[in-house]
């Protein structure tokens, strides 16, 4: 439902985030790393400055590269990233993908940078992947309007400033030569 309203069906803005991501692997897992640079709208930033928490849903889908669209994916995840201004400390609290507790940042830009930073996020175990198959990892970020206060939600269904989402970033593993 959240995706339906916040990003799936009605979302229009495709440049919500620059997804500078890469796939890597360690001994056991397929890893995702890189930065998500978010471009919040003016209304969203104003809401952030007024203490409203902004949540970003990042969806990751892993499937064999030659599978059809409707075929079942190998794995899919949704990560919620959240940023909020803390008035008393005059800092921004960030709860990112790889952080289990919030971190405080003195500036908004530092907080936004930290929000999208992904350090070696384990996606799937390498043992579950077929070595002869190429896999496609699709990543997309959407502003989760369902996390906004209820009175704001009708507005998010109608306003472009609140319907924020990125395009799909598609990575392949193993990478094409």
């Amino acid at each position: 439902m959240a995706l339906l309203f916040s990003g799936g069906l009605f979302a229009r803005q495709q440049d919500f985030a620059d997804l500078d991501l890469r796939l890597a692997s360690d001994e056991f897992s397929l890893l995702l790393q890189g930065d998500l640079s978010f471009h919040f709208s003016k209304a969203a930033l104003e809401a952030l400055a007024n203490g409203l928490p902004l949540a970003v849903d990042t969806e990751v889908i892993i499937k064999p590269a030659n599978k059809w669209y409707w075929q079942q994916s190998l794995a899919s995840f949704r990560y919620k990233l959240e940023i909020q201004y803390h008035a008393l400390s005059q800092q921004y609290l960030v709860k990112g993908i790889d952080h289990t507790y919030p971190r405080a940042f003195l500036t908004q830009s530092a907080a936004l940078a930290a929000l999208g930073r992904i350090k070696e996020l384990a996606l799937v175990e390498l043992s579950s992947l077929d070595p002869d198959e190429q896999y496609e990892v699709s990543i997309r970020s959407v502003l989760d309007s369902e996390s906004l206060p209820v009175p704001l939600r009708p507005l998010t269904y109608l306003s472009d400033e609140w319907r924020l989402r990125s395009g799909w970033k598609r990575l392949h593993w193993p990478e094409n030569n």
Binding site: M1, A2, L4, F5, E46, A47, N50, G51, L52, H86, A87, L88, S89, Q90, Q91, L93, K95, Y101, P102, R103, A104, F105, L106, T107, A110, A114, E146, P149, V150, P151, L152, R153, P154, L155
Partner: protein, 737 residues
């Protein structure tokens, strides 16, 4: 219709589905409103609730559209009760919509004012001040902790890192910090001591803090820990005089807990300020959200009210509609219509009464129908009798219009079947001038207000002289035809003529028998007397005897001629009907009178076509002789005598009209009406049988003869013969060879 489709016709379920849907939507709206107030519990379902409400309203709108569509169709079809239904719907809708709209408007105003009242500058200022106060309070604490941390840093100045790390636990315990870490400006951690036994890594400062430290500024600040209050982070560069770090310079970081009381109060201030700030920011959206909920409730109410109004109005009007249908059925003559009694209220009783009424009307109607059928049978019976009657029957209303007329009436009067019903006597006489005498007769008796009258009417028409026995009478009110007059008449022309012909025939036969027999002995005796005695007497006596016997002989001869003429009139020889050309016959006869014609100018106008008739040539020849003889006799002593013989085909009646016209003195007016009767003549030497024989010959050939005096002087005899058609003429010619 099967049961299943009926079940799916929701209108049969009445208002129950609408009310169920209405209740569901009302609950949904309540939840929607609660979601606005209590975001944590119902908030996640807000979108579903909104979608559900929208779909519900859509369904209600569809229901309403269907109801309005049905109303429109029924209005166009002028269905019974539709106007009453519309009036009731309008009334119900007004009753429902006006108060709800009023409440809505007032609610919106109260809502806006109520939400506005939440926000006050003083509250905002107070919250801001409280926040500043908390911040100041925290700042003092931070400074204190900064001094403690500075002392810790000074205690390890120029102390090798390996030795300093041994003192970290003591330093943490002595300073009251939760965590103390020794690290450098590149982020390298040498050692740390923490109260959290599960922590494997220190709570590292952010890049920004490192950056600040690299620029030579210490970092000391309050950091929120979500849902757990605050910690104070102090990071200070250790003022080493010698470089003891791996890279960069050494740092000491201390994380101090905040006292529970201060933590709780600060957290409370922070929460209140954040909540107020958030509410203040979404103030307009909050209003809009409530107004949206209210608006949905308003629309829901109005839609449900209209639908319920339509369905209720239909149910209320249904018995009336059924009654109207029944009334219409009765109006169109369907008295068998029975209405279903679906209720036991006043309307149910009304329907029951209507059924009783229609049953009685049906019975009365049945009686009336039987009576009407009997009357129709009677009428048909009378009509049949009238059509078989040999008498003509005409009924006239008080305005002189012909109400009924049997076929024989027009056959007697017009010699053809012409429908003259619904025509006035004036119109009839204008159309058929020959009926003028008949009209005068009836008109005279009608004006005399006679209840019963009888008259023998003699008049001339196309058939010639016609004698009618006319009876009339006023119909009595008891006969149901008040003011109407009935006229019955019989054509007694043939009867009267036959009586006269028989009388004259009998007289002629007796005359011939009684007179002719003694005439021969008288003549013979007179001749013998003359022969025997004339030579025996002389002188005066001989002269007297001669004159007397001659007179006797001549008069006896004349009487013989007269008796022969009567004999000829009386006898009725068998006709030898054949096809003959009337024109040729006329030319032959006129040739015989050629000498006499030289005294009179004779004009022949003979029709070139259709001059053949079926007739006895001898009788027609006698007819022409008599007429031409009469005409020539009439022209004796006339200056500039003129004789016209004309034949003319009348296509209308398919007759050949023979006209013989002279410019003599004409018929004496005293005898013109009886000119065809025997022994009617003004000629001194005539037998008075010429025209009687002519008429007899005409009648033997089923013709008609009329005589008239011309205005310019002279007489005109006109005879109508039935003309032979082409086929019969051809066959007749063939037969004659």
């Amino acid at each position: 219709m099967s049961v299943l489709p009926r079940l799916f016709r929701w209108q049969h379920w009445g208002v129950a589905p609408v009310l169920l849907l209405f209740a569901g939507l009302l609950f949904s709206l309540y939840m929607l409103s609660s979601a606005t107030e209590n975001s944590a519990v119902i908030g996640p379902y807000y979108s579903w609730l909104l979608l559900g409400n929208a779909l519900g309203l859509l369904v209600l709108t569809g229901m309403l559209g269907y109801q309005l569509y049905r109303l429109t169709i029924e209005y166009r079809q002028r269905r019974a009760g539709i106007r009453l239904t519309l009036r009731m719907v309008t009334m119900f809708v007004i009753l429902a919509v006006v108060p709800v709209s009023l409440v809505y408007i007032l609610s919106v105003q109260f809502l806006q004012r109520g939400i506005d009242s939440w926000f006050d500058v003083r509250i905002e200022t107070a919250l801001g001040d409280a926040l500043d106060l908390s911040r100041d309070s925290m700042t003092g604490l931070i400074r204190e902790k900064a001094k403690s941390t500075l002392k810790l840093a000074e205690s390890v100045v120029d102390t090798p890192t390996s030795i300093a790390t041994l003192n970290l636990v003591d330093m943490r315990l002595s300073s009251g910090a939760d965590e103390i870490a020794l690290l450098d400006t590149t982020g390298h951690v040498y050692a740390f001591s923490t109260t959290d036994p599960e922590s494997l890594l220190p709570n590292a400062p952010s890049e920004l803090i490192y950056s600040q430290l690299r620029q030579g500024y210490p970092y000391l600040d309050l950091e929120p820990v979500k849902d757990e209050g605050f910690i104070i982070r102090v990071v200070i560069e250790i003022p080493d005089t010698i470089n003891l770090a791996v890279r960069g310079r050494r740092l000491i970081q201390a994380l101090y807990p905040v006292a529970d009381r201060l933590n709780s109060l600060s957290q409370s201030v922070q929460s209140a300020f954040a909540a107020y700030k958030e509410l203040s920011y979404i103030r307009d959206e909050l209003k809009n959200s409530f107004i949206l909920t209210l608006s949905l409730a308003l629309v829901l109410n109005i839609l449900a009210a209209i639908i319920v109004a339509v369905i209720s109005a239909r149910r209320l009007v249904e018995p009336v509609r059924v009654l109207v249908d029944g009334t219409r059925a009765v109006a169109t003559g369907n008295y068998e219509k029975r209405l279903p009694v679906t209720s036991h209220d006043e309307l149910g009783k009304l329907v029951g009464s209507f059924n009783d009424m229609t049953q009685r009307v049906a019975e009365a109607s049945q009686q009336a129908r039987l009576s009407r059928e009997a009357a129709e049978e009677e009428h048909a019976y009378v009509q049949t009798i009238l059509s078989r009657l040999s008498s003509g029957v005409i009924t006239l209303n008080s305005d002189g219009l012909v109400v009924t007329m049997n076929p024989m009436a027009s056959r007697i009067l017009l010699n053809s079947e012409v429908d003259l019903t619904n025509k006035s006597l004036d119109e009839i006489v204008d159309q058929f001038p020959g009926l003028h005498e008949f009209y005068n007769c009836i008109h005279r008796h009608l004006n005399a207000d006679e209840t019963q009258w009888q008259e023998q009417l003699v008049f001339l028409n196309h058939k010639g002289r016609q004698v009618l026995m006319v009876n009339g009478g006023l119909l009595s009110p008891e006969q149901g035809r008040e003011g109407e007059h009935v006229v019955m008449f019989d054509d007694v022309t043939d009867f009267v003529q036959a009586q006269r012909d028989a009388a004259w025939g009998e007289m002629a036969r007796r005359l011939a028998h009684e007179i002719k027999n003694p005439l021969t002995p008288i003549q013979l005796s007179a001749e013998r007397v003359r022969h025997k005695c004339l030579q025996d007497v002389e002188g005066k006596a001989a002269e007297v005897l001669d004159k007397a016997t001659r007179t006797i002989i001549d008069q006896v001869e004349a009487m013989k001629d007269m008796v022969n003429a009567f004999t000829q009139y009386a006898r009725s020889p068998e006709l030898k009907i054949e096809s003959l050309s009337l024109n040729r016959m006329i030319e032959e006869i006129l040739e015989m009178y050629k000498g006499e014609q030289q005294r009179a100018a004779t004009e022949l106008r003979l029709d070139s076509e259709n001059t053949y008739i079926s007739a006895d040539a001898g009788r027609i020849r006698q007819l022409l002789h008599n007429l031409i003889r009469n005409a020539l006799d009439a022209l004796n002593g006339v200056e500039d005598p003129h004789l016209l013989v004309e034949t003319r085909f009348d296509p209308l009646n398919n007759t050949l009209v023979l006209t013989i016209e002279d410019n003599g003195p004409g018929f004496d007016e005293s005898i013109i009406n009886n000119v065809f009767e025997p022994y009617v003549t003004t000629k001194q030497q005539g037998t008075g049988l010429g025209l009687a024989i002519v008429k007899k010959i005409v009648e033997e050939h089923h013709g008609a003869i009329t005589v008239t005096n011309l205005v310019k002087g002279g007489a005109k005899v006109m005879i109508n013969f039935s003309c032979m058609d082409v086929v019969s003429h051809a066959s007749s010619n063939g037969g004659l060879g």
